[in-house]
């Protein structure tokens, strides 16, 4: 068992010449780690030709320093002790590349995120840094020049979610001439924005600005719009994803339906009996319906749960008659699976609103006149169930309305985060309610959060309009009258933290400003797309600042409220960013993949087949003629599971070969 | 031998004696190494002031602790693990362990399995006995105990019997061992034994091979017996050597017999006869604890077996001492005969020539071994002819929960006991192993001491002594045969007479090529 090239003390085995570079990162590292000591320690390690420390290795002069040394001192291995490799490994690899050294002859040591920032004891931190550097030097000895793999990018893009974010992303890409598949799970696109009446702070009507974009999507030749559909499986890798989309039957042949809605009128149900999803149950719809007038596509949908034909097969099918020779109705439609190939994916799956029932002390569901903000959006919407009239359940106009902020936000019992949009939409609702009903409006808030262009001004405007503001978290909403004046009213109890006493304010209507939450199936969805979630359940970006729309899966981007609470302008900006990232990738025409693939020593392989079931990507197959396993490098994603599982170590992984890792293990443990 | 060396030796001895008489300095002779089952053996001989042998220690300076490290191992692995106790007689340990597993799981193997086991076992017995006779005993008798050392080795034997015969011997052993491998996987460290049967079937083709080789084996053995008669029995010196008191101990004997008290190597009753040859005890193998006890001496790693009821009386012989002997001579002594015709004849002749049962002459082991060799080959022939041998039913799957199991076989070198206790999952909790040579350890120690006392007097060590001392334990075939026979040289020895300070007074050595030097 011959020894592989291992640093032999003093000499630099195999002409290996290592340069070690220790970064101060200003005081980020130097504050806790004695960087000078580390670089001096490194200088004494076998094979190390030069060892330096520098304020900012990632800066241009820092990189220049490395390049200069590589050329002047004929270095052929580089170790950089700095921040996490996930941050600047690419930076330093480029530096090596520019100096004519294969970028993979580099090892980055993480002495910031995992040393200086997490330890206080300078001595211990420095010792740890030394160990890690020593390990890196021993490891880098064995590094081999590697070539990145170039794979072409399929220019088609998949956008998941048809809210404003998805719509904007899809249009941006389509305008750039890329083909976009837009998949929406509901029968229509539009998302939450379509439900709003006005938008803050400008108060322009949501429909007016959204509808044109929706129709644009519906008619754009570059966009394949699949509503009432869901992505069920994603295979492949960046640039070459194979996606399976489940298309639920709407029992309407889309190409034949004109959206005339004669079938709806003709339906044997004279009145709708089913709570209307779009109006949050504030109105009823028929089994055959168009979600809302501006729905895109303008295609009705039949709900098999309530349609008589599906229940009894004995319906007169007046709808079919109404449709006449267009014959757009097809009760036999089945769910279908479409397979598409795309190069990049943008997730814009949005959010769900907080279920106000979870805070029982606010009486939602118990008192008829306690509403959620979204319900009120519908009520005051001209296209809503009441035609824009804000009426109580008994049809009366409210005299006094209380708006409770932070329901399901900033709350240790439910969600800790600030939902970011509630303050502003509460102000908007307060304005609209006062405008429409002239009622007294009370806002109960913890803090008024109005960051954003024109937002604070909008708040000032409402103060002038005479809307009441009480700073205090509402304790409860009750119908228990403590005073005749409270009879038949809903009483809001809250501590006024400015006036420092507890107020009881009787109102006719309570609006709960519910917060934003990740979609219920966010976990399932992220697994389909192989990305991560934050502990709150929002999709996790690659870097909170530098890569807000990227994920850890190359070619999969996240945009809008699925990444965290956002208002419309933010969501649209986000969508644009995601579209731009995708475009950048597509226009490069190819992507370079890390070469961390597994490879087989064929002579050594005994053909025991143990590795074959270990690969989730079917990258390993058994070559009958040779009786050896073979790896398809294109399919290999470089996890190394087969390497660890090979009983004769006949499989190795580039950049993570057994010997390299053994050196690292023994390196961190070896006492110098 | 050069004059001056002679004188130097005497002078040294005089000085030594003087110092001895002055200060009671004892002198010792060390014969190191001799080898045996687990590594090498060592003999330490101490002289009294008069230079007479006061005490001789036959030591076994090594221990591997199988009894301990098998704890926690699955019982079914024991046949393969314990075979590593000895690479010369692995099949014996493998078989004892396998039988212990039958007993452990309370399974009775199908008849075919038993026959396959016994067939393989007798094949093993044949090659092992042949190995010993031709390459260990051989030099002593075929060329003679007093022949020049240079000839007293396998080459001497070949010279005597002819190169063709030598090739025949080697070829015979090879074919026997090939047969073992055929069924058991490997000749050294077989793998075929399982509780309730064997792992591999015997196909008709294999059976045919067994039949051929078995027949050949019987002929080969006949020839060997003739050779023995011509060379040994017709030589009165040899016979008298065999009968000489120097190589005689009146001890008990132990061995395995079948229901009719005939020798059986694979299975049966354990029978013990007293020095007077009468049956002293007969017991089922799993009763061994009632009879066999082991004694510990601080100067050897080997334990010395004795008969529990008689008790340990030190290294003495006779009916009052529990010391007993095993291996071929013992087996013939405890039995009433052999179950095969030719072997029975040989058996009768053996005792008539040596003056009836029991025979107490250690060196008679060599002859007894040949009688057994004949039996083994005949038994092979019988089993190989058995039509049931190729029956596909070779396993009974155990159903009982394991607890305790004991397995006993007659190894070439004597009764071999494996005794296991396991947990419910069949993992070994305790193991007790009594290996063949241990049964003989006490008698061997006595033999060595007897010869030493009889032949050694002070520093004046005649050359013959070395081989005579060797012969004393070699007759027991203490399992060091494997190495000595394939190189040109009989077992080399060194006798060193030295003061306690370790200063050498006299040195007599024989090198690997057989040449002898005084230095």
């Amino acid at each position: 068992m011959p020894e592989t090239g291992r640093p032999t003390n003093g000499s630099n085995a195999g002409g290996v010449r290592v340069g070690v570079y220790v970064c101060h990162c200003g005081t980020n590292i130097a504050g806790t780690v004695d960087v000078r000591a580390v670089s001096e320690y490194a200088a004494g390690l076998p094979g190390v030709v030069v060892s330096r420390d520098y304020k900012y290795m990632c800066s241009d002069p820092g990189q220049a320093l490395i390049q200069h040394d590589i050329q002047e001192l004929a270095l052929n291995r580089i170790v950089v002790a700095s921040c996490s490799p996930l941050l600047h490994e690419p930076t330093f690899r480029r530096a090596l590349d520019r100096a004519g050294l294969n970028p993979f002859l580099l090892q980055v040591v993480n002495i910031r995120e995992q040393v200086s920032w997490v330890h206080l004891d300078k001595q211990a931190a420095t010792a740890k840094a030394n160990d890690l550097v020593r390990a890196a030097v021993r490891r880098v000895f064995l590094h081999k020049p590697l070539q990145r793999r170039r794979v072409p990018i399929n220019p088609n893009v998949l956008v998941v979610g048809g809210g404003i974010t998805g719509i904007h992303a899809a249009l941006t890409l389509a305008e750039a001439g890329k083909h976009v598949y837009l998949v929406e799970r509901e029968p229509t696109i539009g998302g939450h924005m379509a439900m709003f009446d006005k938008t803050f702070p400008t108060l322009d009507c949501a429909a007016c600005i959204l509808t044109p974009k929706m129709t644009a999507v519906g008619s754009h030749p570059g966009i394949t719009l699949w509503t009432y559909s869901e992505v069920v499986k994603v295979a492949g890798y960046v640039g070459n994803y194979r996606v399976q989309v489940k298309r639920k039957p709407r029992y309407i042949i889309e190409d034949l339906c004109l959206g005339c809605q004669e079938c709806v009128t003709a339906c044997v149900y004279k009145e709708g009996k089913t709570p209307d999803e779009f109006n949050l149950g504030l109105s009823k719809r028929k089994p055959v319906y168009l979600p809302f007038p501006q729905a895109v596509p303008q295609k009705v949908v039949i709900d098999p749960e309530t349609c008589i034909e599906f229940k009894s097969k004995k319906c007169k099918k007046t709808c079919v008659e109404a449709c006449g020779d267009r014959q757009a109705i097809d009760f036999t439609q089945k769910e279908t699976l479409e397979e598409i190939e795309v190069g990049t994916i943008i997730l814009a799956t949005g959010f769900k609103t907080f279920d106000a029932g979870r805070n029982p002390y606010y009486g939602y569901g118990r008192y008829p006149n306690v509403y959620t903000s979204l319900e009120v959006e519908r009520l005051i919407n001209a296209a809503g169930p009441t035609g824009g009239e804000l009426l109580l359940r008994d049809g009366k106009r409210p005299q006094a309305v209380g708006i409770v902020h932070c329901v399901g936000s900033r709350d240790a019992n439910t969600n800790r985060w600030c939902s970011k949009v509630c303050c502003m939409y509460s102000l908007k609702l307060a304005h609209l309610i006062k405008e429409r009903t002239g009622a007294e409006v009370y806002n109960f808030y913890i803090d008024m959060r109005t960051p954003g262009k024109g937002y604070e001004e909008f708040y000032d405007r409402l103060l002038d309009e005479g809307v009441h503001f009480v700073r205090g978290r509402v304790a409860e909403v009750t119908d228990w009258a403590a005073h005749p004046s409270e009879k038949g009213k809903l009483v809001i109890r809250a501590e006024d933290t400015l006036a420092a006493f507890v107020r009881r304010i009787p109102v006719d209507m309570v609006v709960l400003s519910v917060g934003l939450e990740p979609q219920l199936d966010a976990q399932a969805v992220r697994r389909i797309f192989n990305i991560s979630c934050s502990s709150e359940g929002w999709f996790l970006e690659r870097h909170p600042k530098l890569a807000p729309v990227r994920t850890f899966t190359e070619g999969v981007y996240i945009a809008g409220a699925c990444q965290g609470p956002k208002d419309i302008p933010d969501s649209v900006a986000h969508a644009g960013a995601a579209a731009a990232e995708a475009l950048a990738l597509i226009d490069a025409q190819f992507v370079e993949l890390e070469p961390y693939t597994a490879f087989i020593f064929e002579d050594a392989c005994s053909g025991c087949k143990s590795c074959i079931p270990l690969c989730p990507y079917q990258a390993i197959s058994f070559a009958e003629e040779k009786k050896k396993a073979t790896i398809n490098e294109v399919l290999c994603k470089g996890c190394g599971t087969c390497v660890a599982g090979c009983p004769s170590s006949s499989i190795q992984q580039n950049f993570f070969e057994d010997e390299e890792i053994f050196e690292e293990i023994e390196g961190v443990l070896a006492y110098a | 031998m050069p004059e001056e060396k002679e004188q130097a030796l005497h002078q040294a001895w005089q000085e030594g004696a003087a110092r001895a008489n002055a200060g009671y300095v004892r002198r010792r002779i060390t014969i190191d190494p001799i080898t045996r089952l687990e590594g090498h053996g060592k003999i330490d001989i101490f002289l009294d002031e008069a230079g007479q042998v006061e005490r001789a220690y036959f030591q076994v300076p090594e221990l591997r602790g199988f009894e301990k490290f098998v704890q926690g191992r699955p019982a079914e692995d024991m046949p393969q693990i314990t075979s590593r106790i000895c690479g010369v007689c692995p099949t014996a340990h493998h078989m004892a362990a396998t039988k212990a597993l039958d007993n452990l799981y309370r399974v009775d193997p199908p008849p075919t399995a038993k026959k396959i086991r016994e067939l393989v076992y007798n094949t093993f017995m044949a090659e092992d006995h042949a190995l010993h006779f031709y390459f260990l005993g051989g030099p002593d008798f075929v060329v003679g105990p007093d022949a020049p050392p240079a000839e007293r080795n396998v080459l001497g034997v070949i010279g005597k019997i002819g190169i063709e015969t030598a090739r025949r011997v080697i070829a015979m052993r090879r074919r026997w061992r090939e047969l073992i491998a055929l069924v058991a996987g490997k000749a050294v460290h077989p793998v075929f034994g399982l509780p309730g049967g064997v792992a591999k079937r015997v196909t008709p083709e294999m059976q045919k091979q067994f039949q051929e080789v078995a027949a050949e084996g019987v002929e080969f053995t006949k020839f060997t017996l003739h050779l023995f008669e011509d060379v040994v029995l017709k030589n009165t010196d040899y016979v008298s050597l065999i009968l000489s008191d120097l190589y005689t101990h009146r001890t008990y004997y132990m061995g395995m017999v079948d229901d009719r008290n005939r020798v059986n190597l694979y299975d049966g009753w354990v029978r013990v006869v007293a020095p007077d040859g009468k049956e002293w005890k007969k017991f089922r193998p799993d009763q061994y604890l009632e009879t066999i006890a082991e004694h510990v001496e601080p100067w050897s790693y080997v334990k010395f077996c004795y008969l529990k009821q008689v008790g340990w009386k030190g290294f003495t012989e006779g009916p009052e001492s529990g010391i007993y002997s095993v291996a071929p001579l013992a087996r013939l002594n405890v039995s009433n005969g052999m179950s095969t015709t030719l072997a029975q004849k040989a058996y009768e002749k053996f005792f008539s020539v040596l003056g009836g049962k029991p025979v107490h002459h250690t060196l008679a082991n060599h002859w007894a071994r040949l009688v057994e060799l004949l039996y083994a080959t005949e038994r092979m022939k019988e089993l190989a002819a058995d039509p049931q041998l190729t029956d596909p039913t070779i396993r009974v799957l155990p159903t009982e929960k394991p607890r305790e199991g004991i397995g006993v076989v007659e190894a070439p070198r004597g009764t071999l006991v494996h005794h296991y206790q396991t947990d419910e999952n069949g993992l070994i909790q305790k193991a007790n192993l009594i290996v063949a040579t241990q049964n003989n350890a006490a008698r061997m120690a006595m033999s060595v001491e007897k010869v030493a006392k009889g032949l050694i007097s002070g520093a004046d060590v005649p050359e013959g002594v070395l081989n005579r001392v060797e012969m004393a334990f070699r007759a027991y075939d203490p399992c060091h045969g494997c190495a000595t026979h394939s190189l040109p040289g009989s077992m080399p020895l060194l006798v060193r007479v030295r003061s306690q300070s370790g200063q050498t007074l006299a040195l007599l050595r024989r090198d690997f090529d057989g040449s002898v030097h005084r230095e």
């Binding site: 995120e113 995992q114 997490v118 211990a124 991560s532 989730p616 599982g645 293990i665 006492y671 | -």
Partner: protein
């Protein structure tokens, strides 16, 4: 190759500081460990992290080598079941871990010295807690000395 020289720690005279080698998955635990940094959480400096693309790459040889080379504990960090960046890798790890843990027990190595944690990229606090907790448990156990002490090599009267 088998005969690599052991670079064993001299038994520290000062208070015993456990040395723990950690193998972290690049997509979850390693990220979480970075996040503990960016969140400026503090934890014990006794762990040395080795980054792998997947916990499935952790060859049991690495764990044994770490112990043999003087580690007092070994920690593996992987993605939660069902969250593996490579679909199945962490399940392979889990199965190997179960058998390896039994093997180590048989070799007299206390269970607290070998640990598998599922930590997602967002769970910085779990990295801190796992490390602090493990360091304390191992500290209580004391150093793991596998190499028989020197005198074992000299003759000792039985």
């Amino acid at each position: 190759m088998r005969n690599r020289q052991l670079t064993r720690a001299p038994q520290p005279q000062a208070a015993f500081e456990p040395r723990i080698v950690a193998f972290f998955c690049n997509w979850c635990t390693y990220l979480a460990a970075d996040l503990t940094g960016t969140s400026r959480m503090k934890y014990a400096p006794n762990v040395r992290v080795i980054r792998l693309m997947c916990s499935g790459r952790v060859d049991p040889q690495f764990v044994l080598d770490a112990f043999a080379q003087g580690a007092d504990g070994v920690l593996i960090g992987g993605c939660h079941p069902g969250d593996c960046h490579y679909q199945e890798g962490n399940y392979r790890t889990l199965r190997r871990y179960h058998l390896l843990r039994r093997l180590l027990r048989q070799m007299g190595i206390e269970e607290e010295r070998f640990r598998l944690e599922w930590i997602s990229a967002a769970e910085a606090d779990r990295v801190r807690n796992a490390i602090n907790d493990m360091v304390e448990r191992v500290r209580a156990l004391g150093p793991l000395q596998l190499e028989p002490k020197r005198e074992d090599r000299e003759e000792v009267a039985v």
